[in-house]
Amino acid sequence: MNLTTQSAASQPIKVESVGFGWPLIGCAGRWLPSGASTGFTLKCFRRVPRVKVNVSSTMSGRVLVGVKRVIDYAVKIRVKPDNSGVVTDGVKHSMNPFCEIAVEEAVKLKEKKFIKEVVAVSCGPQQSQETIRTALAMGADRGIHVEVTGKEYENIGPLQISKIMAALAKKEDAQLVILGKQAIDDDCNQTGQMTAALLDWPQGTFASELTLEGDKIKVVREIDGGLETIKINMPAVVTADLRLNTPRYATLPNIMKAKKKKIANMKPADLGVDLTSRRRGRYRGRRSARREEGTVY
């Protein structure tokens, strides 16, 4: 890993862009040995090769927030009898909790006047529009629904979504893309990182604190070793972790206003995105193993 702790002598090097080493950091999660303290703050600046990034001097003030429609966290998941997947018909769905946190952060930035517009994006079938409406009721300004249905929807994963998000980020001239760190149905924790890589933008993942400073963002990340503070240039991708904020309940007047806000419809083909799945394997669902009573280590 390219980690260098700041010492008195060395110069902190500012992160300007992201190379290929980044996605590994998010997925590498090691288990901490029990008793390890996670309370200390690790202030470090990453040493990454500088890559020229085309950043416009006048930021558009637009933030893209990805929201995913997932099975509600409180629902008891049932595996289909043929083990091909989980039962989704008639099951309660809601916005991914980390996406709620992402929307809340974007709306907070708008309220503090750091940014001008919050655009909520969702990829999926017709019902994804409900999720976008919830984001609009929380304070997003408009929505984009990228329609993906049926068999295609069953087969897409973070790679395809990040291609769509990257295309939209370029199309909408977004200065910031905020996503939830992971979705609670697949727990992939890849979309944010892949989106940043496709756009060649810096990324601040597992953000528990986000501050905009001029055309840079200070991100406090929750990592295995504790908290890490990084400063990245905009445009950037940030993924929201649990302690970033507490999402608000939509107020009734906002729910009424959400009805009037626009949701644009488009297909992945309109963005030039190819949705072919790179996955070869078949989903095999299995019930979790029966655990015996006994000592828990």
Partner: protein, 405 residues
Amino acid sequence: MAALIKARKALGLCLRGCRSLSQLAELPETHQMLRQTCRDYADRELIPIAAKLDKEHSYPAQQIQELGAMGVMAMEVPEELGGAGMDYLAYSLAMEEISRGCASTGVVVSVNNSLYIGPILKFGTEEQKKQWITPFTTGEKVGCFALSEPGNGSDAGAASTMAHQEGDEWVLNGTKAWITNSWDASATVVFATTDKKLKHKGISAFLIPMPHPGLSLGKKEDKLGIKASSTANIILEDCRIPLGNMLGPRGAGFKIAMQTLDSGRIGIAAQALGIAQASLDCAADYAQKRTAFGAPISKLQSIQFKLADMAVAIESSRLLTWKAALLRDSKKPFTKEAAMAKLSASEAATMCSHQAIQVLGGMGYVEDMPAERHYRDARITEIYEGTSEIQRLVIASQLLKEYES
């Protein structure tokens, strides 16, 4: 012939109401979102603390403020005055979901919305609305409704609280009983007799801030249920208020009270629905987990029949409530439907909570499960804002008017 036309008119009115309800195969999207938001709020913020609020008799001040921020404390109030500007169908949906979480919080919301803000919104001057409604939309202040007295509850026309004019002030004397929110309220709508000779046409409505010299509160009643909301007497001893504090014209008090209670009934019907639904949820969940005779008890017909009866009672009361709300929203007469909704829903609540305890057996009798709290909370819905007997009188009188030749 005239009778036929009248009957057809009545039927037409009903059908028009029905048609809009049948178009309502699904609630409008905003109402669905509102319902979901309130449900999420109840699940996350109210259900976890409901038992504690009940045990400690503590007023849910923080939750009321949060609900105020969401706009739930003043749902019908137009946005210019600080409210949410929504219709009564939305209000009944919100009430049901909140009461499903905590019935006491539900009654606080209902009294503020229908009984306090309701009459001021309908009968108050612009000045009065700004002074008495706007501060009460955020949840920081709540209001109450003082109609009942120790000497008359159902007999609202015999108000013995007197009000006489002295110079440029009204002076009120008397006692009001069973006032919900009294200990937590910052204002009240009080009904007092201004002209005893005119009997019920001599009652007027007044707005009194709380606390106020001359207005004192009796001791908090120790109730069977809805323990987190305060109920007490309001004692008026030479309580002086400016002339501008009269609500509506002199002598209109009885009419104001009756019309306010008509709307309040829809809110209480929704509260009863929430309690009934919570009981059904509790019973059905338990029935699927509890095993007896080698299988979950939900496989037993006797339990299934109970659950089915509960579901039918709830669903029919819900449709009655929605119909009453829709009629009110379309500014059509809704007195009979509102009374039917309240009667049906409150009896459904007591039946469902009773059966829920039965399904839970021993567990239904202890405080570990919420069934006993629903049983206690449900009982009051058949009594306040018009007892079930009064509802029957109202329904019968409206019904017979339709058959008059």
